[in-house]
Amino acid sequence: MEHSEMEFIAEKQKVKIVPNFSMSKIYFISGEVGPFQPGLPTEVPFWLAISLRQRQKCVIHPPDWLTIERLEEIKEAETTTELFTPLPNTHFREMCQLLLTHAKPNIQNADAVRTLVKDIWDIRAAKLRSSSDKFIRVQAGHARIDNLTLMEINIARPFLLASLDHLHTLRTSKQFTKKTRNKEY
Protein backbone atom coordinates (compact mmCIF):
# COMPACT_ATOMS: atom_id res chain seq x y z
CA MET A 1 0.00 0.00 0.00
CA GLU A 2 1.19 3.51 -0.73
CA HIS A 3 2.05 5.61 2.27
CA SER A 4 -0.27 8.36 1.14
CA GLU A 5 -3.07 5.82 1.41
CA MET A 6 -2.03 5.16 5.00
CA GLU A 7 -2.33 8.86 5.63
CA PHE A 8 -5.80 8.82 4.12
CA ILE A 9 -6.84 6.11 6.57
CA ALA A 10 -5.31 8.01 9.45
CA GLU A 11 -7.41 11.05 8.60
CA LYS A 12 -10.46 9.21 9.91
CA GLN A 13 -9.12 9.70 13.46
CA LYS A 14 -10.92 12.19 15.65
CA VAL A 15 -9.26 15.37 16.83
CA LYS A 16 -10.41 18.21 19.03
CA ILE A 17 -10.91 21.61 17.46
CA VAL A 18 -12.18 24.99 18.63
CA PRO A 19 -14.18 26.54 15.79
CA ASN A 20 -14.64 30.28 15.35
CA PHE A 21 -17.96 30.05 13.49
CA SER A 22 -21.36 28.65 14.30
CA MET A 23 -23.08 25.93 12.35
CA SER A 24 -25.56 23.18 13.10
CA LYS A 25 -24.69 19.48 13.04
CA ILE A 26 -23.34 17.98 9.83
CA TYR A 27 -24.58 14.48 9.03
CA PHE A 28 -22.11 12.11 7.35
CA ILE A 29 -22.44 8.44 6.53
CA SER A 30 -19.83 7.68 9.17
CA GLY A 31 -21.62 9.74 11.82
CA GLU A 32 -22.52 13.25 12.73
CA VAL A 33 -20.17 16.07 13.72
CA GLY A 34 -20.84 19.34 15.44
CA PRO A 35 -22.72 21.43 16.25
CA PHE A 36 -20.14 24.19 15.95
CA GLN A 37 -20.20 27.11 18.35
CA PRO A 38 -17.43 29.72 18.42
CA GLY A 39 -15.09 28.94 21.29
CA LEU A 40 -16.68 25.59 22.20
CA PRO A 41 -14.37 22.62 21.60
CA THR A 42 -15.77 19.75 19.57
CA GLU A 43 -14.42 16.52 18.06
CA VAL A 44 -14.22 16.14 14.30
CA PRO A 45 -12.41 13.79 11.91
CA PHE A 46 -8.93 14.84 10.99
CA TRP A 47 -9.64 15.60 7.35
CA LEU A 48 -12.37 18.04 8.33
CA ALA A 49 -10.15 19.66 10.90
CA ILE A 50 -7.42 20.20 8.31
CA SER A 51 -9.85 21.61 5.80
CA LEU A 52 -11.30 24.03 8.37
CA ARG A 53 -7.86 24.99 9.57
CA GLN A 54 -6.71 25.81 6.04
CA ARG A 55 -9.61 28.25 5.79
CA GLN A 56 -8.73 29.73 9.21
CA LYS A 57 -12.04 28.53 10.64
CA CYS A 58 -10.73 26.70 13.66
CA VAL A 59 -7.86 26.04 16.01
CA ILE A 60 -6.72 22.42 16.24
CA HIS A 61 -6.00 21.13 19.73
CA PRO A 62 -3.17 18.66 19.46
CA PRO A 63 -3.71 15.41 21.40
CA ASP A 64 -2.28 15.47 24.91
CA TRP A 65 0.54 13.05 24.01
CA LEU A 66 2.05 15.47 21.54
CA THR A 67 4.10 17.30 24.16
CA ILE A 68 7.81 17.26 24.83
CA GLU A 69 7.40 15.65 28.27
CA ARG A 70 5.20 12.82 27.04
CA LEU A 71 7.38 12.10 23.99
CA GLU A 72 10.53 12.14 26.15
CA GLU A 73 8.88 9.47 28.30
CA ILE A 74 8.06 7.36 25.26
CA LYS A 75 11.57 7.73 23.90
CA GLU A 76 13.03 6.76 27.27
CA ALA A 77 10.84 3.67 27.44
CA GLU A 78 11.68 2.77 23.85
CA THR A 79 15.44 2.93 24.45
CA THR A 80 15.39 1.00 27.72
CA THR A 81 13.28 -1.99 26.69
CA GLU A 82 14.13 -4.50 24.05
CA LEU A 83 10.54 -4.95 22.94
CA PHE A 84 8.33 -2.42 21.24
CA THR A 85 6.49 -0.11 23.60
CA PRO A 86 2.86 0.75 22.91
CA LEU A 87 2.55 4.11 21.16
CA PRO A 88 -0.34 6.43 22.02
CA ASN A 89 -1.88 5.94 18.57
CA THR A 90 -1.69 3.28 15.88
CA HIS A 91 -1.36 6.10 13.37
CA PHE A 92 1.39 7.73 15.40
CA ARG A 93 3.64 8.80 12.55
CA GLU A 94 0.87 9.97 10.23
CA MET A 95 -0.85 11.93 13.01
CA CYS A 96 2.39 13.67 13.96
CA GLN A 97 3.15 14.47 10.36
CA LEU A 98 -0.31 15.92 9.72
CA LEU A 99 -0.38 17.91 12.95
CA LEU A 100 3.11 19.27 12.46
CA THR A 101 2.32 20.43 8.94
CA HIS A 102 -1.15 21.85 9.50
CA ALA A 103 -1.31 22.85 13.14
CA LYS A 104 2.27 23.87 13.79
CA PRO A 105 1.36 27.19 15.47
CA ASN A 106 -0.86 25.34 17.97
CA ILE A 107 1.89 22.97 19.10
CA GLN A 108 4.33 24.14 21.73
CA ASN A 109 7.97 23.70 20.74
CA ALA A 110 6.96 22.19 17.43
CA ASP A 111 10.53 21.77 16.26
CA ALA A 112 11.64 19.90 19.36
CA VAL A 113 8.53 17.73 19.06
CA ARG A 114 9.38 16.93 15.47
CA THR A 115 12.90 15.87 16.45
CA LEU A 116 11.55 13.63 19.21
CA VAL A 117 9.03 11.98 16.92
CA LYS A 118 11.80 11.27 14.45
CA ASP A 119 14.03 9.88 17.20
CA ILE A 120 11.34 7.50 18.41
CA TRP A 121 10.67 6.44 14.85
CA ASP A 122 14.34 5.72 14.19
CA ILE A 123 14.79 3.72 17.37
CA ARG A 124 11.81 1.59 16.46
CA ALA A 125 12.97 1.14 12.87
CA ALA A 126 16.33 -0.11 14.10
CA LYS A 127 14.57 -2.53 16.45
CA LEU A 128 12.37 -3.80 13.67
CA ARG A 129 15.39 -4.38 11.45
CA SER A 130 17.40 -6.27 14.03
CA SER A 131 14.43 -8.37 15.09
CA SER A 132 13.59 -9.41 11.54
CA ASP A 133 17.23 -10.29 11.00
CA LYS A 134 17.16 -12.43 14.14
CA PHE A 135 13.94 -14.01 13.00
CA ILE A 136 15.48 -15.09 9.69
CA ARG A 137 18.79 -16.12 11.21
CA VAL A 138 17.45 -18.55 13.80
CA GLN A 139 15.17 -20.09 11.15
CA ALA A 140 12.13 -19.48 13.30
CA GLY A 141 8.74 -20.56 12.03
CA HIS A 142 6.76 -17.75 13.55
CA ALA A 143 7.31 -14.65 15.59
CA ARG A 144 5.11 -12.37 17.58
CA ILE A 145 5.60 -8.65 17.57
CA ASP A 146 3.25 -6.42 19.50
CA ASN A 147 2.63 -2.71 19.37
CA LEU A 148 3.79 -2.01 15.84
CA THR A 149 2.06 0.91 14.18
CA LEU A 150 0.39 0.51 10.82
CA MET A 151 3.00 2.62 9.06
CA GLU A 152 5.83 0.42 10.32
CA ILE A 153 4.06 -2.71 9.17
CA ASN A 154 3.45 -1.13 5.81
CA ILE A 155 7.11 -0.23 5.31
CA ALA A 156 8.42 -3.64 6.31
CA ARG A 157 5.78 -5.66 4.52
CA PRO A 158 6.87 -5.91 0.85
CA PHE A 159 10.49 -6.78 1.54
CA LEU A 160 9.92 -9.09 4.48
CA LEU A 161 7.11 -11.03 2.84
CA ALA A 162 9.07 -11.60 -0.35
CA SER A 163 12.13 -12.68 1.62
CA LEU A 164 10.14 -15.15 3.67
CA ASP A 165 8.57 -16.44 0.50
CA HIS A 166 11.99 -17.01 -1.00
CA LEU A 167 13.13 -18.76 2.15
CA HIS A 168 10.03 -20.91 2.03
CA THR A 169 10.82 -22.13 -1.50
CA LEU A 170 14.31 -22.98 -0.32
CA ARG A 171 12.98 -24.86 2.69
CA THR A 172 10.35 -26.85 0.85
CA SER A 173 12.81 -28.20 -1.70
CA LYS A 174 12.50 -31.85 -2.65
CA GLN A 175 15.40 -32.96 -0.46
CA PHE A 176 13.64 -31.99 2.72
CA THR A 177 10.20 -33.21 1.77
CA LYS A 178 11.55 -36.56 0.66
CA LYS A 179 13.28 -37.08 3.95
CA THR A 180 10.13 -36.45 5.96
CA ARG A 181 8.13 -38.69 3.65
CA ASN A 182 10.54 -41.55 4.28
CA LYS A 183 10.00 -41.12 7.96
CA GLU A 184 6.27 -41.41 7.57
CA TYR A 185 6.31 -44.78 5.84
Binding site: H3, F159, H166, T169
Partner: protein, 206 residues
Amino acid sequence: MDLLCPPGGGMKQNYLSIDDIMMSSEKIPSTFLVSVKTLGYLDPSTNKKDIEVGSKLDLPLWLALSLAHPRKKFVTVELTKPYKATYREILKADAGVVNLYKLCPYYYALGQQQLSLNHAEGILVARSLILAFSDRFRRIMDLSGNAIGGDNSSLIQQFDEVERRLFALGQKSLQSFQRWEVGESRTLRTSELVSRHRKRKREAVD
Protein backbone atom coordinates in the same frame (compact mmCIF):
# COMPACT_ATOMS: atom_id res chain seq x y z
CA MET B 1 7.23 -7.64 -10.48
CA ASP B 2 6.53 -11.28 -9.96
CA LEU B 3 8.61 -12.45 -7.08
CA LEU B 4 6.08 -14.98 -5.88
CA CYS B 5 7.29 -17.29 -8.61
CA PRO B 6 11.05 -16.76 -8.59
CA PRO B 7 13.01 -18.33 -11.43
CA GLY B 8 12.49 -22.03 -11.15
CA GLY B 9 11.62 -21.73 -7.48
CA GLY B 10 11.62 -25.32 -6.30
CA MET B 11 9.79 -27.59 -8.63
CA LYS B 12 7.26 -25.07 -9.85
CA GLN B 13 8.91 -24.01 -13.06
CA ASN B 14 7.54 -21.11 -14.91
CA TYR B 15 7.41 -21.95 -18.59
CA LEU B 16 7.20 -18.48 -20.10
CA SER B 17 9.33 -16.61 -17.60
CA ILE B 18 12.46 -15.24 -19.24
CA ASP B 19 14.35 -15.72 -15.99
CA ASP B 20 13.42 -19.34 -15.98
CA ILE B 21 14.60 -19.78 -19.55
CA MET B 22 17.93 -18.12 -18.74
CA MET B 23 18.32 -20.21 -15.62
CA SER B 24 17.51 -23.49 -17.31
CA SER B 25 20.11 -22.94 -20.03
CA GLU B 26 22.97 -23.00 -17.53
CA LYS B 27 25.37 -25.81 -18.36
CA ILE B 28 25.50 -29.00 -16.28
CA PRO B 29 28.48 -31.37 -16.64
CA SER B 30 27.08 -34.76 -17.62
CA THR B 31 28.44 -38.17 -18.54
CA PHE B 32 26.65 -40.40 -21.05
CA LEU B 33 25.64 -43.88 -19.93
CA VAL B 34 24.43 -44.93 -23.39
CA SER B 35 25.77 -44.26 -26.84
CA VAL B 36 23.82 -41.92 -29.06
CA LYS B 37 23.86 -42.42 -32.81
CA THR B 38 24.84 -39.60 -35.18
CA LEU B 39 24.89 -36.87 -32.55
CA GLY B 40 28.68 -36.81 -32.27
CA TYR B 41 28.75 -33.25 -33.61
CA LEU B 42 27.40 -32.03 -30.26
CA ASP B 43 30.76 -32.82 -28.69
CA PRO B 44 33.25 -30.31 -30.11
CA SER B 45 36.22 -32.21 -28.69
CA THR B 46 35.89 -35.20 -31.08
CA ASN B 47 35.20 -35.80 -34.75
CA LYS B 48 33.36 -39.05 -34.15
CA LYS B 49 29.94 -39.66 -35.61
CA ASP B 50 28.29 -40.97 -32.46
CA ILE B 51 28.34 -39.96 -28.82
CA GLU B 52 30.00 -42.86 -27.06
CA VAL B 53 29.37 -44.30 -23.62
CA GLY B 54 31.32 -42.39 -21.02
CA SER B 55 31.85 -39.21 -23.03
CA LYS B 56 31.50 -36.01 -21.06
CA LEU B 57 29.41 -33.08 -22.24
CA ASP B 58 28.06 -29.91 -20.75
CA LEU B 59 24.32 -30.11 -21.25
CA PRO B 60 21.89 -27.30 -20.56
CA LEU B 61 19.84 -27.85 -17.43
CA TRP B 62 16.55 -28.40 -19.27
CA LEU B 63 18.08 -31.25 -21.26
CA ALA B 64 20.01 -32.73 -18.36
CA LEU B 65 16.85 -32.79 -16.24
CA SER B 66 15.03 -35.05 -18.63
CA LEU B 67 18.00 -37.20 -19.65
CA ALA B 68 18.96 -37.89 -16.05
CA HIS B 69 15.47 -38.95 -15.05
CA PRO B 70 15.84 -41.69 -12.42
CA ARG B 71 13.60 -44.17 -14.27
CA LYS B 72 15.22 -44.03 -17.72
CA LYS B 73 18.69 -42.77 -17.08
CA PHE B 74 20.75 -41.78 -20.14
CA VAL B 75 23.30 -39.58 -18.41
CA THR B 76 24.68 -39.04 -14.95
CA VAL B 77 25.14 -35.46 -13.89
CA GLU B 78 27.59 -33.74 -11.62
CA LEU B 79 26.96 -30.82 -9.35
CA THR B 80 28.09 -27.61 -10.97
CA LYS B 81 31.11 -26.01 -9.40
CA PRO B 82 29.58 -23.24 -7.29
CA TYR B 83 27.59 -25.80 -5.27
CA LYS B 84 30.46 -28.16 -4.47
CA ALA B 85 31.98 -28.58 -1.04
CA THR B 86 34.70 -25.94 -1.55
CA TYR B 87 32.19 -23.23 -2.35
CA ARG B 88 29.82 -24.44 0.34
CA GLU B 89 32.63 -23.98 2.83
CA ILE B 90 33.26 -20.45 1.60
CA LEU B 91 29.57 -19.62 1.95
CA LYS B 92 29.52 -21.14 5.40
CA ALA B 93 32.48 -19.04 6.51
CA ASP B 94 30.95 -15.74 5.47
CA ALA B 95 28.16 -15.69 2.94
CA GLY B 96 27.94 -11.91 3.08
CA VAL B 97 31.08 -11.22 1.08
CA VAL B 98 30.57 -13.76 -1.69
CA ASN B 99 29.67 -12.45 -5.12
CA LEU B 100 26.76 -14.77 -5.86
CA TYR B 101 26.01 -13.13 -9.17
CA LYS B 102 29.43 -14.08 -10.42
CA LEU B 103 28.99 -17.68 -9.31
CA CYS B 104 25.66 -17.88 -11.07
CA PRO B 105 23.11 -15.13 -11.72
CA TYR B 106 20.37 -17.48 -10.55
CA TYR B 107 22.28 -19.06 -7.72
CA TYR B 108 19.40 -20.19 -5.51
CA ALA B 109 17.17 -21.30 -8.35
CA LEU B 110 19.84 -23.32 -10.13
CA GLY B 111 20.83 -24.92 -6.86
CA GLN B 112 17.26 -25.93 -6.23
CA GLN B 113 16.83 -27.35 -9.68
CA GLN B 114 19.92 -29.49 -9.29
CA LEU B 115 18.51 -30.95 -6.10
CA SER B 116 15.95 -32.82 -8.14
CA LEU B 117 18.81 -34.66 -9.88
CA ASN B 118 19.39 -36.68 -6.72
CA HIS B 119 22.95 -35.88 -5.94
CA ALA B 120 24.38 -37.57 -2.90
CA GLU B 121 25.22 -34.13 -1.53
CA GLY B 122 21.73 -32.82 -2.21
CA ILE B 123 20.72 -32.28 1.37
CA LEU B 124 23.96 -30.41 2.05
CA VAL B 125 23.39 -28.13 -0.91
CA ALA B 126 19.81 -27.47 0.19
CA ARG B 127 20.98 -26.56 3.69
CA SER B 128 23.78 -24.39 2.40
CA LEU B 129 21.33 -22.39 0.25
CA ILE B 130 19.12 -21.65 3.25
CA LEU B 131 22.04 -20.67 5.46
CA ALA B 132 23.57 -18.50 2.76
CA PHE B 133 20.36 -16.55 2.31
CA SER B 134 19.75 -16.08 6.05
CA ASP B 135 23.29 -14.84 6.35
CA ARG B 136 22.96 -12.36 3.53
CA PHE B 137 19.47 -11.22 4.51
CA ARG B 138 20.57 -8.45 6.87
CA ARG B 139 22.80 -6.82 4.28
CA ILE B 140 20.15 -6.89 1.58
CA MET B 141 17.60 -5.45 3.99
CA ASP B 142 19.87 -2.68 5.24
CA LEU B 143 20.98 -1.66 1.77
CA SER B 144 17.51 -1.69 0.27
CA GLY B 145 16.08 0.25 3.20
CA ASN B 146 18.72 2.94 3.24
CA ALA B 147 20.22 3.45 -0.20
CA ILE B 148 18.90 6.76 -1.44
CA GLY B 149 18.72 7.54 -5.13
CA GLY B 150 21.60 7.57 -7.54
CA ASP B 151 23.43 4.63 -8.93
CA ASN B 152 22.84 1.44 -7.01
CA SER B 153 24.62 -0.90 -9.37
CA SER B 154 27.77 -1.07 -7.23
CA LEU B 155 25.69 -1.97 -4.16
CA ILE B 156 23.85 -4.83 -5.75
CA GLN B 157 26.62 -6.32 -7.84
CA GLN B 158 27.11 -9.15 -5.35
CA PHE B 159 23.42 -10.06 -5.29
CA ASP B 160 21.91 -12.81 -7.38
CA GLU B 161 18.71 -12.15 -9.36
CA VAL B 162 16.27 -12.99 -6.57
CA GLU B 163 18.19 -10.83 -4.14
CA ARG B 164 18.18 -7.98 -6.66
CA ARG B 165 14.45 -8.24 -6.84
CA LEU B 166 14.16 -8.12 -3.07
CA PHE B 167 16.40 -5.05 -3.10
CA ALA B 168 14.12 -3.36 -5.64
CA LEU B 169 11.07 -4.11 -3.50
CA GLY B 170 12.67 -2.56 -0.44
CA GLN B 171 13.71 0.47 -2.48
CA LYS B 172 10.21 0.97 -3.76
CA SER B 173 8.71 1.09 -0.31
CA LEU B 174 11.47 3.39 0.91
CA GLN B 175 10.87 5.80 -1.95
CA SER B 176 7.15 5.74 -1.39
CA PHE B 177 7.72 6.61 2.25
CA GLN B 178 10.07 9.44 1.41
CA ARG B 179 7.71 10.90 -1.14
CA TRP B 180 5.04 10.91 1.52
CA GLU B 181 7.31 12.36 4.17
CA VAL B 182 8.24 15.45 2.17
CA GLY B 183 4.62 15.84 1.14
CA GLU B 184 5.26 15.21 -2.53
CA SER B 185 2.55 12.59 -2.84
CA ARG B 186 -0.02 15.12 -1.62
CA THR B 187 0.32 17.43 -4.60
CA LEU B 188 -1.58 16.56 -7.73
CA ARG B 189 0.47 16.24 -10.87
CA THR B 190 -0.40 16.11 -14.53
CA SER B 191 -0.49 12.56 -15.69
CA GLU B 192 2.48 11.54 -17.85
CA LEU B 193 0.05 10.50 -20.53
CA VAL B 194 -1.60 13.90 -20.70
CA SER B 195 1.63 15.91 -20.69
CA ARG B 196 3.03 13.78 -23.50
CA HIS B 197 -0.18 14.08 -25.48
CA ARG B 198 0.78 15.03 -29.02
CA LYS B 199 -2.56 16.26 -30.31
CA ARG B 200 -3.25 19.98 -30.34
CA LYS B 201 -5.34 21.19 -27.46
CA ARG B 202 -8.69 22.70 -28.24
CA GLU B 203 -7.79 26.16 -26.88
CA ALA B 204 -4.72 26.21 -29.13
CA VAL B 205 -6.93 25.63 -32.17
CA ASP B 206 -9.50 28.32 -31.34
